[in-house]
Amino acid sequence: MSANTDTIDEFVSSEYKYGFITDIESESLDPGLNEDVIKFISAKKNEPEWLLNWRLKAFRHFEKMENPEWAHVNYPPVNFQEISYYSAPKKKGDGPKSLDEVDPKLLETYEKLGVPLHERARLAGVAVDAVFDSESIGTTFKEDLAKAGVIFCSMSEAVQEHPELVKKYLGTVVPYTDNYYSALNSAVFSDGSFVYIPKGTRCPMELSTYFRINAANTGQFERTLIIAEESSHVSYLEGCTAPMRDENQLHAAVVELVALDNSEIKYSTVQNWYPGDEEGRGGIYNFVTKRGICKRNAKISWTQVETGSAITWKYPSVILQGDNSIGEFYSIALTNKAQQADTGTKMVHIGKNTRSTIISKGISAGKGQNSYRGLVQVGKKASKARNFSQCDSLLIGDKCGAHTFPYIEAKNSTARIEHEATTSKIGEDQIFYCNQRGLETQDAVNMIVNGFCKEVFRELPMEFAVEAQKLLDVSLEGSVG
């Protein structure tokens, strides 16, 4: 039987739904990176001196560092002088005091993105912080959360209102010296979300942040910090989109999670930044450092669905410092068109009886290149540490690639580490089989891809799982002719 690959070749030409631009007057810094820029951002946010000094130290460190080149991705060097490090919608007067005062155009933008910010319109049970370019424009359900003692606000606000917490934890999980982009972020970060769950509290609703890049030539450098006090619990979601532009835009975020004794943080991401076109023009460079630390009996669970961005470079990790702590990483990464992703996780076992699970599903279509990179490290004192890793790759068509780079370092002989990996391909014969049973090619591909990903979908909060499934379908639309 001769195989004809033409049908699958055409599998790659979907429209990006969120590519519109909001026409709004904004205040942007001229492109360029130097100490004055950092001082400007810090002054703009009325920051205390310690924070400005921290930023400047980070910047001086950044200047001594080299762009990392070990990732399996290919792109021209980023010119940091061409990027504007601050852009925010212009405020009238002192700026909005509540959501009622936010520019209607911004509210409309979020409406269009499917994230209505009017509290009454929201599904009860999800509070949203909306970050537009460099600024948070509003947070919903703040008062309800405050009743439970939960703090959920923008990072800028946290610096003003809760400086002791920010000072205590900022940079403790991801120090600015950690890597090139974490140093850059520490120097120029503009906003992001801040979450604090008090001792013994179960956060009464899902928290979420919606990131939107709008302005051209702007980088988004947000910083998120989540602190779960002893025996607390929180589930946090983030979503991201950006307009279609021919130039690449940089998004270099840092996320730090602190899970104190017996607490649990569940962090879910649906990342749908503009991926660029078939030729690889435009799209977001998504260079992100995400890491959490678990104290005794604590648990951190990362779930990510990565369908956007021209380049994704991201390894949500867990440091299992406390005994009996648990780290989990569930990931779906889809690369279509000319997208490249190098993503995975690090599980660092330090405490005794620590356990980690890694489930990674990579899907490559078009000319997409998808790499899993993961490190499982077991320290000398981490007796009886256990890890299970499963990395599966699915190929659609014959111009894409899948790569797996697992690293294992075990220094304790009682550790148990298991790694499983598979690579499969959606074949013409599978498509024809489905067609012959009356199913459209697109439905067949979606069915196979969704089946491939179901172990990860299971981990997402309900509403998100449905959205993520639709997003995968849309991202693969037109990938078979």
């Binding site: 024809f432 089989y433 489905c434 067609n435 009356g438 199913l439 090619t441």
Partner: protein, 248 residues
């Protein structure tokens, strides 16, 4: 039901079907036999609309409509069912979900109401009982890790559920033990009625002990070189194909 006129097809530069003529009426079972490489599986694939074949000449009518221009899924919805010689594994896709989607596509096309999960399960469980299939089948991914016999029985289950007007069975008997063969044949005989037809492609006479054909055709080198009733199959069993080929 089916009218094939002077059908010619090639893969790349090689001509495989060199002018097939065949008429199948409602209620009939036709067996197509022939040595390896004579074009039997190609004929099945071309009828189902598989890509990779160049149709250079001829016409194929299903209930009077030319189907050569239709996509494979459109043909399927029009009632063409192909039981695969090598059923394809689809890991991760649940058998129940797959089969219900397929059945509902066909029902939608026929203007019938789609089946909800409950009604579908009721129906499929009843059919599985008839085919002596364990219900556990439904929980597994489509054909993944199935034995050869299980795969073939799954084809028959799908055929039973889709209730096609034209079923083409491509060497469904190959690799089956005698019990499985009986179950497969049973399934075919069960769906048979005055409004549909079956084409059974086989190497061996033994399947035809269970599925009694109205006509037997011998395909050789891309052409039907001999047609007859069921006794032709017995002759072939006894004498092989050589005596026919010499005269062809």
């Amino acid at each position: 039901m089916l009218e094939i006129k002077n059908l010619k097809a090639r893969i790349e530069e090689k001509e495989i079907l060199k002018g097939i003529n065949l008429s199948v009426n409602n209620g009939e079972v036709h067996a197509i036999m022939g040595p390896n490489g004579s074009g039997k599986s190609t004929l099945a694939s071309v009828l189902a609309g598989r890509e990779g074949y160049d149709i250079t000449d001829g016409e194929v009518f299903l209930r009077g409509n030319d189907i050569l221009e239709l996509s494979p899924e459109e043909r399927a919805r029009e009632g063409v069912f192909l039981a695969f010689q090598y059923p394809v594994e689809i890991p991760g896709v649940n058998s129940t979900y797959f089969l219900r989607s397929a059945v509902n596509q066909v029902r939608k096309h026929r203007g019938e109401e789609e089946l909800d999960a409950m009604n579908f399960l009721k129906l499929v469980k009843a059919k599985m009982k008839e085919l002596e299939l364990a219900e556990e089948f439904l929980k597994r991914p489509v054909n993944a890790g199935f034995s050869g016999g299980e795969k073939k029985r799954n084809e028959i289950l799908q055929m039973t559920m889709l209730n096609p007007s034209l079923a083409v069975l491509d060497e469904t008997d190959s690799g089956l033990d005698i019990d499985a063969l009986r179950i497969v044949a049973d399934g075919v005989n069960r769906i048979k009625n005055q409004n549909n037809a079956q084409i059974v492609i086989t190497h061996y006479q033994r399947l035809l002990d269970y599925i009694v054909p109205d006509f037997v055709h011998v395909l050789y080198d891309g052409r039907i070189i001999k047609s007859g009733d069921k006794t032709l199959a017995h002759d072939l069993e006894e004498k092989g194909y050589d005596w026919l080929i010499k005269n062809a």
